[in-house]
Subunit: 285 residues, 4 copies
């Protein structure tokens, strides 16, 4: 009994957490479809005219999806080798967040705080984060961002200091009479301008203010170059490092593009990119 129980657990684990078996792939596709359908229903139910017509239908479908995701969460907990580790992991928390708001809405009687109920109803949409599980391939991008995190923090600190100073200046120049009612509002304007968003809800009216705005735009225009430069240089380094490590098993020449399947010098097949073993001593001369 205990053995077959363990066996069932393992089989469930392979299907739910694994991605290489056929059953595992079917489960993944079914889950992705369920997430997307559930999201579409949630989005549609937020449109007043749709909500008025099909409120009950939307409610029922939502209950159905919540039940489904609850079963998924419990099964994951059950078949995981270390349930508490799963529950505390990023994906465990997201799987819980995907179902919690619906239960909380049921618990809170509708007569209670309207704002809280609305917030809970909208927060159901955070189940979109369940899809992050299937974006695993983003290693190169993530590593580039992490490799550049120190530079990015310095960049954003600089931007924060800049917008505070520019916002204070425009607050002095334009003042509350032209829509710059407070320093936070003026800093908001500086961010809108330096990022080149330019809503146009608060704009300078005086000549001096327009001059400062022009300066802010040109500044934003040129410092936009800095994060791009950082990411590009990091990405380029990551990609070069990666390319140098891919060698043809036949002629042992390196430098193949990361999606190459055949050696570009002798034409023999390169190892499957996903199974490629990166040799340790490869670039030693």
């Amino acid at each position: 009994m205990s053995f077959s129980n363990e066996n069932l657990k393992h089989q469930l684990y392979v299907i739910i957490f694994g991605t290489h078996t056929k059953a595992g792939k079917i489960f993944d596709i079914a889950l992705i479809i369920a997430i997307f359908t559930s999201l579409i229903v949630l989005v549609l139910s937020s449109i007043p005219s749709f909500d008025a017509k099909w409120r009950e239908e939307f409610k029922l479908i939502e209950y159905g999806f919540t039940a489904l995701f609850t079963i998924e969460y419990l099964t994951r907990l059950y078949c995981s080798p270390k349930p508490s580790a799963y529950a505390k992991s990023f994906y465990g928390v997201i799987d819980l967040v995907a179902i919690l708001p619906t239960y909380l809405v049921i618990l809170f009687p509708s007569a209670s705080l309207v704002g809280v109920v609305r917030a809970l109803r909208v927060m159901r949409i955070f189940r979109i984060l369940k899809l992050v599980r299937y974006l695993q391939d983003s290693n190169l991008l993530l590593r580039s961002l992490l490799g550049a995190r120190r530079k990015i923090i310095i960049f954003f600190s600089t931007v924060a200091i800049l917008v505070t100073i520019l916002g204070s200046f425009i607050y002095i120049i334009e003042g509350p009479e032209n829509g710059f009612t407070s320093i936070p509002q003026s800093i908001y304007w500086a961010i809108v301008t330096i990022t080149t968003v330019g809503y146009g809800d608060v704009v300078p009216q005086t000549t001096l203010g327009k001059g400062l705005a022009a300066l802010t735009m040109l500044l934003g225009y040129s410092i936009l170059a800095v994060p791009t430069g950082i990411i590009t240089a990091e990405l380029h380094q990551e990609m070069s490092a990666h390319r140098a490590l891919v060698k043809c098993p036949n002629c042992s020449l390196a430098g193949h593009e990361s999606d190459a399947l055949f050696c570009k010098y002798c034409g023999s097949e390169l190892a499957d990119p996903d199974k490629r073993v990166v040799p340790v001593n490869t670039t030693k001369t």
Copy 2:
């Protein structure tokens, strides 16, 4: 008879599909002029004041161009070695789409659905796609985009998840009373803001909403760096790969710029860039 027929077919094929003979070049230039003229007439006829004045003239010119493009399409079908392959190809479909709407407008009596007729009339402008045939040289750009397609898909999935969550947050914070009438509308706002377009038709009114907007802008400002980094790194790789393969036939030194005509070390003429044979084993040491 049958022979001269085949001969005519082949000659037409060389003129219409080829680009190297004098007649072929004249045909191409004439076609490009016809496409541009036809587009200008279509665009002008959409301006109410012009339409009121010259409606009949525009109609006649349009019929003329449709006849011309129909003859072109039929000739292409006739002289093509495999007519069905041409008809199903990208350019075959575009050549058909360039003439179809005009015939459909004639078939549909003007008394029928106004929307459909307007749509058909506007769709005639899609004959601009016939020009894509003459943008063939875009190989490097296309290869870079294709080489980076996996990263681009991951990037856009991340952006999609981000704008859904940011849109939901602003919907909770601002609510229908400030113009954020539904979740799709709020996601639309998030896209307008994160791409730094900033129409200003929907803007946050509360302090908390403005804070979230500022965050969205800074996020958009910095993740804009990611696609740029991806494309730049890919392009750089493509260009380096290309340069390493161009060798001087005299001193056999590599590393010439892609538009170089003479060797920068010994001054002897490099092979014509279009005829350059890329040696197979060139970078082997």
Copy 3:
């Protein structure tokens, strides 16, 4: 007499066209100050309140500067070895354009076409182009742009086709009743949106239109990466090529930064960057 005349000519030439003598430098600085002062006066005189107060003063100053630039133009013509070559050159045309509008305004009686006179008055500001003469150092940037011109043309053709199609679609979806009065107006909207400018003077009202707008923004957001990638890759290539050619005269190691004055390996002085002779066979192994 003829000799001293020739001598005067040559001396004037050295002062006016040259930049290396002391007198030549003083002339250049005086000219730059004159251009800037003249531009400030022109800009100020276009502000209605300033014009009302100091119209006569502005007129007199403008006549003074025109006289000055006329003398400069005539002297350049006089001392140039080939006056007709100078007159037809880029700078010759600009020097003429800098003075012509003022004379034309005097010739045209103020009673003639108001629009023409205003246009002529504003066109005096094009003397700002005289400053281009002092931006000569922009070789690297220009060469990068020229090296990438084919890719840039392809890029802009693609953008032109894209905005035409996107504009036509929004014209079908939104129609004249929502501000998309004609196809040119709709293409204008598509350009405003795809470049992420986002004035907000024409915005989609329907749900479908907002969806297409969101698509246009994301498209613009990502294809913005393409020109950046092109320029960056070109610039990087230009800079690498330049660095590889700078060698230390003592230890003959290459790879010095373009603004380095001393060898970073042995500390001996590098040749003056402006006088550096680029060796012909330098990277041959």
Copy 4:
């Protein structure tokens, strides 16, 4: 007495200017917290509703922080080996600017010029610049910007000439009747458009004006690529230069990423990145 005085001075110096002792770190963290709290109070006190409620409390807190920063400034002056050098340094001036406005507001009776008092009150926010002291790590970014300063100046001169000409053209085309009241206003519009900010407070009304606007946008869209390309190429060069200099002390292979702690070829620990001695002759072959 004199000795212990010197001793006290030195100990204070280590705590206040140093960052490596425990006391020094505690001082730094306390100072950062004080700066942030003071900034939050300043920002909140600029919001009318908050100011009305807690004006006296804000005043008292501000006096407290000014006293604190005054003590800090005087101690720095006291314990600095060369007080006058500190007072004239960038950080010395900022430390003074952080306290001066408050004293000036006290000196100026509130009956004096309202504008000046408001400006002084807002300028207290410039104490945010005290934080720059803790952004020291930005060497790579700064060096890249400095290395590219010549190209950046040329770029901005080109942009300045472009917006002046584009602004003049739109002023001729649209004129005061469409909101383009003067040349400075038109140049302001050109900057708003070319940087893709697009407030929408001044927009072209005529067809010709819209055409010029579209051209300006596409121009801005593509020249945005130039500063990015410059910074990226510089950053890439700086990073490559840095990487080539980091060598494994065990196997002496170079090319390690700047944040690597262990050699990627033999696994032995690399020197602490902050203590790494860059060998002089490292890349000599």
